[in-house]
């Protein structure tokens, strides 16, 4: 390696320039923020289509114009618009679909890089850093590579059913995004069965994964598919139970109304129901096939699981859907448990969709963190955890929340007192139930660790790496 390309020296050379650039960006950002805050305070933006805090407003006005509802005098244009009211549905639907698709596509391109860099950082290596500045163009290079590759079809494969699954997993992967509330008036599919829709969409991928494994005519693929299907239908139950708990508490299955509930009561459901948050998060990592539950494609056990035989862009589609679903689950956790677009009043100042995006990013970071640090569960452990641990606890929590919700409907005092009580009761229940049930099932945590944590301080780990670097 030539000296000019040595990453450490390159970084030393680029550091002052990067610092200056960063400072400049910060100044511009601060100035923009001050200007925006001034506009917001002066009230000049309220209820105008260019009120960027609420993109739904602009769409609403566009729709009214397309319906011909805004013009007082009927001219020929108004006449045409009034006779074609279906136009407004098509235009707004296309706008929403374009928005969602471009968001998902853009996020996929960026997050492949973010995830690999973050995991690299966690595992004390560099991650992709060759293609473009900081390796930023790596996802594009990967995509080009995947498109170029030949798609092989194994001998004896069921050709039709081999072609279908990459497409079939892609459809729910996009449909999941429809009911997610981005901001008060920004929901693509604001249906009152939103939560049920999510569960239904989530259950569709199971069959596609099974088809992929079966049609490949490969033992590893079939094994991986059977493992995945067993795991996914097991974890659908705690997932549905945790969603049901949220629905019982808020009294609605409409996602935007759930976020609205959290905003009105100034409370996050994640605080009220920590156990439910954990159940949902853990079960969705199982549905996503991500570490610690990635037994579907456990590389060290069954090559690549159900997509062993898929090559080229077919594999690329599976990979993209997996990543996109991870972001979708982050969005769901943010909306259902972390208050969605609401941030205790700050959403009046900052555009709510930015608040939401920040929360999604935070949850996604936790997902990457888990992937970078945790080992994989064994299959039997995973199934036992779902059936013996998560489902009973989720059921008890559901009964508790039903009582609490009934009390909340009759409560006439301060909301703070009620929610404080709920936080106390549910927090206490979480600690007692988790410890007590674990003890009942015969699991006792190690009191004295047998091994000192060598990895962080000894031979490997970040501190050791730092010491080696500075030496």
């Amino acid at each position: 390696m030539s000296a000019a390309l040595d990453p450490i020296r390159l970084r030393a050379k680029l550091a002052p320039r990067a610092l200056a650039g960063g400072a400049l960006a910060l100044v511009v950002f601060a100035a923009l923020n001050v200007a925006i805050a001034a506009l917001v305070v002066s009230g000049a933006l309220d209820d105008q289509w260019y009120d960027f805090r609420d993109l739904g407003l602009g769409v609403q006005q566009l729709r009214e114009w397309l319906d011909g509802r805004t013009a007082d005098q009927p001219g020929w244009l108004t006449d045409v618009l009034r006779s074609t009211t279906w136009l407004s549905y098509i235009v707004t639907a296309l706008l929403g679909a374009t928005g969602i698709l471009s968001f998902v596509g853009g996020v996929l391109l960026v997050l492949i890089w973010v995830e690999r860099r973050l995991i690299g950082r966690i595992q004390v290596r560099r991650g992709p850093n060759r293609v473009g500045p900081f390796g930023l163009l790596q996802p594009i290079a990967d995509a080009i590579k995947l498109i170029q590759k030949e798609t092989l079809i194994p001998v004896g494969a069921d050709r039709f059913m081999f072609f279908l699954p990459p497409v079939l997993v892609f459809i729910p992967g996009l449909l999941v995004w429809a009911p997610i509330p981005w901001a008060p008036h920004m929901t693509y599919l604001d249906t009152n069965v939103g939560v049920l829709y999510l569960v239904a969409i989530g259950s569709l991928a199971t069959l596609a994964i099974f088809m992929a494994g079966w049609s490949s005519n490969n033992h590893y693929a079939l094994l991986g598919a059977m493992r995945t299907v067993a795991m996914m239908i097991s974890y659908e139950i705690p997932l549905a139970l945790s969603l049901l708990t949220v629905v019982v508490l808020t009294g609605t299955a409409q996602l935007s109304a759930i976020v609205e509930w959290q905003s009105v009561h100034n409370v996050w459901i994640g605080m009220l129901l920590p156990l439910t948050l954990f159940t949902f998060f853990f079960s969705s990592t199982a549905e996503l096939n991500r570490t610690p539950n990635d037994i579907a494609e456990a590389e060290s056990e069954i090559v690549a699981g159900f997509h062993t035989e898929y090559s080229g862009m077919k594999f690329g589609l599976f990979y993209a859907v997996e990543l996109g679903n991870a972001v979708a689950v982050s969005a769901l956790v943010a909306a259902l448990f972390l208050g969605g677009w609401s941030l205790f009043g700050l959403q009046e100042w900052v555009p709510p969709y930015l608040v939401f995006a920040a929360k999604v990013g935070a949850v996604y970071f936790v997902l990457v963190w888990l992937r970078g640090t945790l080992p994989r569960f064994r299959l039997d452990q995973l199934m036992a955890f779902a059936w013996k641990y998560l489902i009973p606890l989720a059921l008890v929590q559901l009964a508790l929340v039903a009582v609490e919700a009934a009390l909340l409907r009759r409560w006439e005092g301060e909301g703070v007192v009620a929610f404080g009580g709920f936080i106390l009761v549910n927090g206490l229940f979480t600690v007692v139930a988790v410890r007590g049930w674990a003890r009942f099932l015969g699991y006792a945590p190690e009191r004295e660790p047998l091994l000192r944590p060598m990895l962080t301080t000894g031979v490997g780990g970040i501190e050791a790496a730092d010491r080696m670097r500075t030496r």
Partner: protein, 171 residues
């Protein structure tokens, strides 16, 4: 039910439902038949949506396309030596005849009877907008006993299924 969207949607979904249901009969491979069955369930869920039964449509996708189809697939996988060609039995022709006769009879009844149905404006007025709350309320109010019975049935079926397929060595 006179808007163009509903009419196009109805005919497209009806075609999908009936076509893939017929594929279940025609398919030469059992797993292809399962796939066609799922497609038919999805079309049926779409038809439910045109009847403004959103809760039932979602439950249909969840239970049929998500759960029962996976059960079927598992059953196919657990019987590896059985034939998977989706072949017909000795009663193929009589079965087809009886099925066709039933279909014709039901279609004749559907078309011939003068149903006391709502039409036009009265029908549009009756669009259910929040079925989920109403169904939930009637399940714990008016149909509470039936609801209990159904849950008892589910429990019995769960235990029964486990008891049936349990291996002797596990006892």
């Amino acid at each position: 039910m006179e808007s163009t969207g509903v009419i196009i949607g109805f005919w497209a979904l009806a075609g999908l439902t009936v076509g893939s249901a017929a594929l279940v009969f025609v398919a030469r491979n059992l797993l292809h038949a399962v796939l066609a069955l799922v497609l038919s369930f999805m079309g049926m869920a779409g038809l439910f949506l045109t009847l403004s039964a959103d809760f039932i449509a979602m439950a249909q996708i969840l239970i049929y396309a998500g759960a029962i189809s996976v059960l079927l697939v598992f059953a196919v996988m657990l019987t590896p030596l059985a034939s998977r060609d989706n072949g017909n039995s000795l009663f193929a022709l009589p079965g087809l005849a009886i099925g066709g006769a039933f279909a014709l009879l039901l279609m004749f009844i559907a078309v011939d009877v003068d149903w006391p149905e709502l039409r036009g404006a009265a029908l549009a007025e009756r669009a259910f907008d929040d079925t989920i709350a109403a169904i939930g309320r009637s399940l714990i109010d008016r149909y509470a006993f039936a609801f209990q019975l159904a849950s008892a049935l589910l429990l019995v079926a769960l235990i029964g299924a486990i008891a049936l397929v349990r291996e002797d060595s596990e006892r």
